[in-house]
């Protein structure tokens, strides 16, 4: 399986490391509400179909990527950078 890193180009999946679910929202650093942190740390949906995940290109540029992956077919449809660089990614063809 190949993933198209917006910086390095198309590379083998083994260069990347799965980091976690990209749909959960991390509470603000000053948030002291236990419930919000509990949900961020422990609660995960298990969707069938398209899902957003964070991957890191650990064996190359080390950027953190937002990857749209189908949990049924495993097809990765798009890869984007995260943070201020968001929106520079492409479809994963």
């Amino acid at each position: 399986m190949k993933i198209k890193c917006p910086i390095c180009g198309k590379r083998e999946a083994s260069e990347y490391t799965y980091i976690g679910d990209a749909t959960v929202k991390r509470p603000d650093v000053n948030n002291t509400d236990e419930q919000s942190w509990f949900e961020y740390v422990f609660q995960r949906r298990n969707p069938r179909g398209d899902h957003e995940e964070h991957w890191q290109h650990t064996a190359a540029c080390r950027s953190i990527l937002k990857v749209k992956r189908n949990t049924v077919t495993h097809k990765i449809s798009s890869v984007d950078l995260e943070g201020p660089w968001q929106g520079q990614g492409e479809e994963n063809n």
């Binding site: 980091i19 002291t32 236990e34 509990f38 890191q56 650990t58 943070g83």
Partner: protein
């Protein structure tokens, strides 16, 4: 059955080259080109193996990789390999094979008594027998059951052979070197596509060896050989024989094993035994062909019963007749083709049994010409014999169990079965492609593709030569369009006089008059028709349940010959159609794969990259015993002549406490943190605060996870207003860096901070002990070591000759100590300079073992205490955490359960025993478990065995006497619970 060599030599063998080989200690002779099975058949061998469960005698059933019975163990010694298909093992001079699953011998197998217990050993036997009886009874029986049931045994010694891995990036990957695969490859090669073509065997043409038809006016196999010649010369085409595709994965990635030297006694000239190919293909063409399907009747597993097309293969390919008196049982016209061709080649076919009452007149004339007795409208009700077939019983065809019509007995040594063909769709199924049922051939073919592949030929249900070749052209045209290549959509390919298509008369299970008769569906796993019926009766009727309850199709052959019959049978039992009953999905690997081939060269020292410090060679030269920690090679202990490990590390630890020692700490993770917001960032990352840390000072830092448990610890050195150097534990270096990058990029992009790993840029060493200052003062210039200029926790810069060093007064051992960093390339020079300077002071190099002893004596936490289940409170560090700030884990560390006063907390243990305690031992109070030992050592300074332990309400036990037990070694000691800091609790030694 007693096979023999025919007058006409087979097309695959070279009778000029004799090969000597051995099976079960007996010596035989075969020819170059033979398989082990063909050579044994030619030598009259009928008995090949004992079956999995009942230990019934079994012969050879097929001529290919679908073989369920004839599994043998190959080679001896280190190269011993169990469960090889005799039908695909290529013969070589000196081959040694043994039968398996029989004791004391294949001929006299005492385990065959299992047959008489057969009524007990039915589907669900284990569940029924052992559920409810309790674990003990199962454990008592397990040993005997595992011995009795099974395949060959694996070896215990290391594999002496080499394996390789390689990658292919190709436009088209074609699986199968039969007519469909070859024509597709030829068509696409002509228009310039980049192709990789693989074939499982070492011969090309597949089923064409039995084909009478002509392709473009030439004999079919002649055409095939020409195509292979052309393809081999084309540099855009990679042709791989002896290569089995075992897995079809996501994104059109495939795995294949090339058997580079399995056909030789051992690999020659450093060649690998096998090569793993990983294929990245734009498009895949699956031309994996089909396997002949058995018909199920009483005694269908007796040696001598086999598939008709396989018998024809033995004759055509290897010039081997499978027996002297042969009966053919067929439900389709292809069976006649096999019979007539065999008869023409001199095999004594005596009778044909066919449940259909009418026959094509042309075929009828042919069998009359060949003098073959014909029984239309009849069926074989049973095969009889012991270790070989004796006779078959036939009757008029009927689907009722009270079988009608008169019985007739035909004496025979071989019974050939032709039940139609099952397309090989395993690979398509692996990627989730659904299967479509085709009524005409009574079998499943690949449905709509879930990835860019196309199936053609027999794998697609195109069972005659003409439709196979048309299918191949169609697949090639589709592929060319997909790749945007121009193609002639109607290449000229003419087929004449082809074999007939096998259109089977639906027939799977022949009713038997004898209700206890064994009719095998899955020969490899010994699953019978009765097992399936029982499973259905007990409610396990869905194919997925049925498979798991009976283990049908779960043997190493994945039910290649058995699945279709099982599906047909269960559909019949449930009164539904076969497509309604559905299929099970196939899994990777479709054929067993040697672990060595998956590992490739990543074995032994090459298992993962081993990191060495710049001082490595010095350590080795000075007697260091090395140990792997977190991917690094570190000195464990430096042994002097005659010293034991224990003596050596005791000496080293004492030297640090009383004098001075030096340890290589290059492996610690080092992360450079820079930016205007670096201090704020560190405050958020660590549980303790760094805002106020002055430049030129270092501080201990402890990091939590979001869930509130301890993650890692280390020190942070403030090198400038906006520059910090962070150290981590050796093991967590990569994980900490990744986590910092994630936080900065995803959640705190507003922080102006950059992090980068410097673990490999610095060499590090710690000089510890009362005389450490004296040693360093004598050699490091450009800095002062006085108590005012270099107090505890300060970071200073100096030089040793021309080499710059950074010195931090940090202590892990509790003694006065300095950590020294220098650019990696100067590491060895600096180390040697310090050793020279320390000589007058008796400086002692020490390893991880004594470093551990020193830190346990001080009660400092290490990896075993940070196992992901401990909180700051558990290890007595709550007071370090910043009270006001928000940092990772600051909210969830206050969860109810993490604040409970019932938690295990860290204490020290002093043992009265002579032997060291073991980490992982259980701490008992009044025979109740209250905790466990995390780290243990002999303490040279106390002259006692001590340990750190996590004990429930630990502090309350201080002063008590408890027990530490390690049941696996039958060890038990009395221990006294103490404060975890065993030595110098006031910290006076830091200033000694």
């Amino acid at each position: 059955m007693s096979g023999y060599r025919l007058k006409d030599s087979g097309i695959y063998i070279d009778t000029a080259q004799e090969l000597r080989f051995e099976f079960d200690g007996k010596k035989y002779v075969g020819y170059q080109g033979d398989t082990l099975a063909s050579a044994l058949l030619a030598n009259g061998v009928t008995l090949f193996a004992r079956s999995f469960k009942y230990h019934r005698p079994r012969g050879v059933y097929t001529a290919g990789p679908e073989e369920p019975n004839a599994l043998v163990s190959l080679r001896t010694g280190d190269r011993h390999e169990p469960n090889c298909h005799a039908t695909t093992v290529e013969l070589y001079d000196g081959l040694v094979a043994r039968s398996q699953n029989a004791w004391p011998s294949l001929n006299t197998d005492f385990m065959a008594v299992n047959q008489f217990f057969a009524p007990l050993l039915i589907a669900g036997f284990y569940y029924k027998t052992f559920m409810g009886t309790g674990q003990k009874f199962w454990h008592f029986c397990e040993h005997f059951i595992r011995r009795a049931a099974g395949m060959g045994q694996g070896g215990l010694s290391a594999d002496p052979d080499k394996y390789e891995k390689t990658n292919h990036f190709t436009d088209v990957f074609i699986i199968g070197g039969g007519p469909a695969g070859l024509l597709a490859a030829d068509t696409l090669a002509k228009i310039g596509a980049k192709i990789t073509l693989v074939e499982e065997s070492n011969n090309w043409g597949g089923s064409l060896s039995e084909e009478e038809g002509l392709i473009n006016g030439e004999p079919a196999l002649y055409w095939a050989n020409n195509v292979v010649k052309i393809l081999t010369k084309n540099e855009k085409v990679t042709v791989l024989p002896r290569t089995t595709v075992y897995g079809y994965f996501d994104d059109n990635t495939l795995g294949a094993i090339e058997r580079v030297s399995d056909h030789k006694q051992m690999p020659k000239n450093n060649e690998p035994r096998q090569r793993h190919h990983k294929i990245f293909a734009k498009r895949v063409i699956i031309a994996t062909g089909s396997v002949e399907r058995p018909i199920v009747f009483e005694g269908n597993d007796i040696p001598g019963v086999m598939l008709a097309n396989s018998a024809l293969r033995y004759a055509k390919r290897y010039g081997v007749a499978v027996g002297n008196k042969v009966v053919v049982f067929t439900n389709n016209d292809d069976g006649y083709h096999s019979a007539i061709e065999l008869k023409k080649m001199g095999v004594n076919i005596i009778a044909m049994v066919d449940p259909r009452s009418t026959l094509d007149p042309e075929l009828k004339t042919q069998i009359e010409e060949q003098n073959i007795e014909h029984h239309p409208g009849c069926m074989v009700t049973s095969a009889k014999g012991g270790k070989s077939l004796n006779h078959v019983n036939i009757a008029h065809f009927s689907r009722d169990s009270g079988s009608s019509g008169s019985l007739q007995r035909i004496n025979a040594d071989v019974l050939l079965i032709a039940g139609g063909y099952t397309p090989t769709i395993n690979l398509c199924s692996q990627i989730g492609t659904k299967a479509d049922f085709v009524e005409e051939i009574q079998s499943f073919v690949p449905g709509e593709s879930t990835q860019p592949f196309v199936a053609c030929g027999a794998a697609k249900g195109q069972l005659d030569l003409e439709s196979t070749l048309c299918g191949a052209v169609e697949a090639a045209v589709q592929t060319a369009k997909y790749l945007n290549l121009d193609i002639d959509t109607h290449p000229s390919i003419k087929v004449e006089k082809a074999n007939r298509k096998a259109i089977p008369f639906p027939l799977t299970d022949i009713p038997s008059t004898n209700s206890s008769a064994k009719k095998f569906i899955d020969l490899q796993h010994d699953v019978t028709v009765n097992d399936l019926k029982i499973a259905h009766r007990e409610g396990f009727s869905s194919v997925e349940h049925l498979k798991r309850y009976t283990t049908m199709g779960m043997a190493a052959d994945q039910g290649k010959t058995s699945n279709m019959n099982a599906l047909a049978l269960i559909a019949k039992e449930r009164g539904i159609s076969i497509p309604e009953a559905g299929t099970t999905s196939f899994r990777v690997p479709s054929k067993p794969v040697a672990l060595g081939a998956l590992a490739g060269r990543d074995v032994g020292n090459h298992y993962h990259a081993l990191r060495r410090t710049p001082v490595h060679e010095w350590h080795i030269k000075n007697g260091a015993e090395m140990v792997d920690t977190g991917g690094w090679h570190r000195p464990r202990v430096y042994k002097k002549a005659g010293e034991s490990l224990f003596e050596a590390y005791s000496r080293e630890a004492k030297a640090v406490r009383n004098n001075v020692g030096i340890v290589d700490v290059t492996s610690l993770g080092k992360i450079d943190v820079q930016g205007p917001d670096a201090a704020e960032f560190l405050d958020r990352v660590y549980a303790n605060s760094f805002q106020k840390l002055p430049v030129g000072k270092a501080k201990y830092g402890i990091m939590l996870r979001d869930d509130g448990y301890i993650f890692d610890d280390g020190t942070v050195w403030r090198l400038g207003e906006t520059q910090f150097l962070m150290t981590t534990t050796t093991v967590n270096a990569a994980r900490v860096l990744s986590e910092l990058e994630r936080l900065l990029s995803l959640y705190w992009p507003e922080l102006k901070v950059h992090v980068s790993s410097q673990s490999d840029q610095w060499a590090g060493m710690a000089v510890a002990g009362p005389k450490s200052r004296s040693v360093l003062e004598s050699i490091i210039t450009d800095m002062s070591f006085s108590e005012e200029d270099c107090p505890v926790m300060s970071v200073r810069k100096g030089r040793i000759g021309k080499w710059p060093v950074m010195v931090a007064r940090l202590s892990f051992s509790g003694e006065r100590a300095y950590e020294i960093l220098t650019p990696r390339n100067y590491g060895l020079d600096v180390w040697e300079a310090i050793m020279d300077a320390g000589k007058p002071f008796g400086i002692t190099p020490y390893g991880t073992e004594s470093m551990g002893a020193l830190r346990i004596e001080k009660g400092h936490i290490g990896g075993p205490e940070m196992d992901g289940r401990t909180t700051l409170g558990d290890v007595g560090m709550e007071r370090l955490s910043s009270k006001k700030g928000s940092y990772i884990g600051s909210v969830l560390k206050n969860r109810h359960g993490l604040k409970s006063d019932d938690r295990k907390t860290m204490v020290g243990l002093i043992s009265d025993g002579i032997k060291p305690l073991r980490p992982g031992s259980v701490v008992l109070k009044n025979n109740e478990i209250v905790g466990h030992v995390t780290s243990a050592t002999f303490s040279p300074i106390l002259d006692k065995n001590i340990a750190l332990a996590l004990v429930r309400k630990g502090k309350k036990h201080i002063g008590e006497n408890l027990q530490v037990v390690f049941p696996l070694k039958d060890e038990a000691y009395n221990v006294r619970v103490v404060d975890p800091c065993f030595y110098d609790a006031e910290g006076k030694q830091l200033y000694a």
